[in-house]
Amino acid sequence: MCSLGLFPPPPPPGDITLYEFNNALVCGHLYETLPLAFQSQLADLPVLGLPKETLKAHSRLEHGTKPAFIHHRESLWKRCINAWRDVGVCGVLNEVANAEEEALQWVKTGSRYALAVCHWVSSLHGSLFPHLSLTSEDMIAEFSQAVDWAGCTIRAFAWHPHTSKFAVALLDDSIRVYNTNSATIPTLKHRLQRNVAAMAWKPLCASILAVACQSCVLVWHLDPTSLSTRPSSGCAQVLSYPGHSPVTSLAWAPSGELLLSASPVDTAMLVWDVSTENCVQLPWFGGGGVTYLAWSPDGSKVLAATPSAVFRVWEAQMWTCERWPTIKGRCQTGCWSPDGSRLLFTVLGESVIYSLSFSEYRGEMQGQVGGSKTASIVADLSETTFETLYGEERIGGEVHSMAWDPSGERLAVIIRGNPDVPESPTVIAVFRTRNSPVFELLPCGFLRGEQGAQPQLIAFHPCFKKGALLTVCWSTGKISHIPFFFVSAQLPCFSPGRSPVAAMASASVREQPLFSELTSPLASTWAPGPRLSAWGRDARLLPPSSAVPQFPPTRHQPV
């Protein structure tokens, strides 16, 4: 088990983590300090600053055109019809009960009683599933993968699975699409695009983006060659289903054919055939809804977290599921190893990372998920005090979100500090991981952003050739990219772990020893420096306690 105590101490305040090189995280003051050889790798990735002030100017507080018109009192009958259309039975009852007209007195009393019964029933329901009493915005904020969804400028982030292109959902309900190869930055706006909780690019496709909104799922069909900065809302397909809102999580099948959507209110998750807008419900009562979805990169399994202390792992061929009750709280986040054989997940209320391994997927075992009997704790992230030259720092707490890089070698984790202790910050911890032949989780270090910036969202670039590239959205509205330079032990993936085929390829490599003679010389060829593999791959073979010597983190001095 790995714990925070084994981590190298966090970088000094004022420094920014720039990159990982030679198995050590390098900090500095400015971004120019990247070695020249690496600058070309990142030159085209935009480092963005999206401060809140620029957005507030044109954010609409009130949606719709209602305030622009003079208030007009309609007849009760009309209002009831409108309420029926908008809200349903409860709306009609509410309208009748609050009518000022000299309506039939007994109708008013009757509807008042009916309304009371409705409230009582819903409160009963709400006491079973407390999240149902939240407003939909609070619900999204509660279940979103963003740390501070309600307050921060950046609400969702998604890398395109094949190219250097990403989408950013902002506080003003617009989405911007940045492409390294083109200067045009399309801004997506739609009448229904409100309170974006998640986004996902369609795999095996040039430019289709699914957006989880408050009332529906929008699927944007963007023309990658178009120069327009404001695609019309005609480019968006609206996928809505009664009772399925707000949508908080989306997952595309890695084979690109199906889209899953989940809502904390709906017990069923929906499988969409987006091209025809057909959907199939996958109902499973219990749990009260689905908050978070993660499709394994090999396409065989799906993690579905619920608002109560249970999560499910679906098998994606016959769509049967295994149910996993947790002890403490709901499953907050999870991520899959590239070959889909291991699931790491965290539980609200516990500061540990659990691991769940699955028997290797071969397709012949139809309708079996094949999970192991118990989940094991692989990392303990409880609060640890680091004595640094600049004073004490206390780091540790619950995990808010996790990301595993496509080669399966780095795991980034957002640890939310203790909310009661003000000086306990939200940090990103990075682990080195290895999935085969045995699972290993070793500390790498903490990432630090600019002064006062808290990490908001993390995502790995899906096809970074020289290792892994972590994109971090900070609470200041900055989006920075932190490269991890290493030689992957896996075969070079063409579609980095996104298609079952590539996963099969990596699975067949599994039998080879990881630390062959081949990998180390390769590392040395493009990693000149005196401290080659000081605590690198060779050190990983040692037990974790001795693998972390207590030397100070390297300071890269600007020249």
Binding site: D273, P283, Q317
Partner: protein
Amino acid sequence: MSAGPGQQQALLRQVLGWRVAAAVAWSVLLLPLCTAAFVVLSGIDPFHPLRWVSNSFNDLYTSYIIFCILLMSVVILVISIFNVEFYAVVPSIPCSRLALIGKIIHPQQVIHSVVHAVMGVLVAWCAAVMTKGKFQFLAVPCTSSESLDDAVPQVCLNEYHLFFLLSGAFMGYSYSLLYLVNNMNYLPFPIIQQYKYLRFRRSLPLLVKHSCVESLYLVRNFCIAYYFFGYIPRAWISTTMDLHIDSKLHPLDTLTGLLDLSLLYHAWLCGVFLLITWYITWLLFKIYATETHHFPVQPTFAEETDQCLPKILNSNPPLIIKFLALQDLMLLSQYSPVRRQEVFSLSQPGGHPHNWTAISKECLNLLSDLTQRLIAQQEAAAAANGRAKQPAGELKISPQTPGAIVTEDMSFQLQRSNVIPRAPMPSLVKSSLLPLKASPGSDVGTPFSSPILNCKAGILDLNSPWHGSVQSPHIMRRGPKLWTLNSDLQMNGSHQESFPMFSVVRAGSEAVQPSFIYTWLQNKQEQIKNFLSKRALIMYFFSKHPEASIQAVFSDAQMHIWALEGLSHLVAASFTEDQFGVVQTTLPAILNTLLTLQEVVDRHFKLPHVSSKPPRISGSLVDTSYKTLRFALRASLKTALYRIITVFGEHLNAVQVSTEHKKRLQQFLEYKE
């Protein structure tokens, strides 16, 4: 290669037989449950709940209920037989109202409707008997109305019972009609695989809701019908069976008679009972029939050779078998490495990749067939548009339009087809086809290998019953098929004199010398057509719905979608799994076919009348997924191309394809399509 029809029937029976049996068995097993629910609900008595429950449970064991269940089982059996006889994996979509009427009065459909009406009567009779009370018997004793003193016991007609029976017949007939109109004989394959029980459970609430609503409408319609025509059957029954009419009771074909809440409730409940039992039968058949079937890739025993996947794909089996085989191909290519290995394997003596060759050949044939069909449709549409814009008199007739293929063996028909003004052939498609023909290793049918075949299709259509019948040019303009070729020219000619057409014919060839009488007849025919086309009523029946015509073109696209998915997954898997390189030999042909199809499909979606977005599908019981198959095809085509391209990456530059396709590939490689 081709198995005899007898063998195919045996295969069909082997694959489908047990499925049908299981579906029938389950629907019969579910019947007692439905009956129990019906009995409980029909005896509903909100003021005496205890008595209601105890009464209904006592009723459940009585002999007549058991007899009713037996009778209903027979009904279910008959309904199942009709389901099996009428199912279709490719829906037949009527393109005009006349075609729809033609379908309704087709003898087969008439038999279907009559039998369903009779079955409806049987179900209604069972329902009436189980409901008891005033509905139970057709003949009831009554007293003559003249005077109470000399009360002569008479036998009177129970109109309630008659109402029930007639409503049953009405509902049975309506079910049959809706079955036809909604294409409920179409078997839609699910988008995800699920266990049968889960699929059934998922559809059950929808089924119940649909039946309840449907029954409400049917009862309303029946009441209206009975109000106007109810006296006819009543008089007929009472005279033939010598029953008196009880004059003390209200006749039911009056407003007061019909506004009987208990009557309406029981009629509605009877309708719900009928629809639920029949829909369950239909649903179970659908679920069982579309279940995956595991075809072996390589036969383990010699006698299984006819049942293995490559054989079935290459022979011409019943369509459902072909669909199941393609579905199985899609699943094996996606989920089963072991079976993929069998596909890539070489034959034991000889070392030929028979499995892969057979599978890829069939898939490519399917796709190029579709390409041809789409090209033909686009030509027709383009021709129609051209004519619409151009007055017929300005018809410029040149023997060859620019951009037409000129080959030595071009026949007279081909030339004529190219004469049609403004029929721009997709030039890119064509130019790419020629190198494809020459490309090595592409023994498969090229998408445009026989331009004559296109024309033949057109001529065949001319000979179809449609041509002889009355047709207006407007219909032809929107025709999904090859209406154009000859008929268009004749139509254009007929607008004024027949000379332009003559010149066309002369210019085309000297071989055909149409006699003067023939042309005169044609001329007259066209005049009649023109005359008729101006009548609004006829136009109403004949006008083709453009959406329906497009749906008709893509009605069997599910096959092509599976072929695309299967092929692309296999090719993508071959990158790591194909030990002998068998896939590489066909890779250029596959890429060419896919890119050509992509071209043609793109072009199709740019045609007028073609919406680029699928219509909203409400989550109803009746599946309308055939209406959106073309969108699914477009999406899976693109995904299939990207699947191959992401896996092979830069290696694709080494594959022999034409320059246009190379450009296209490059765009795909840069994710710019």
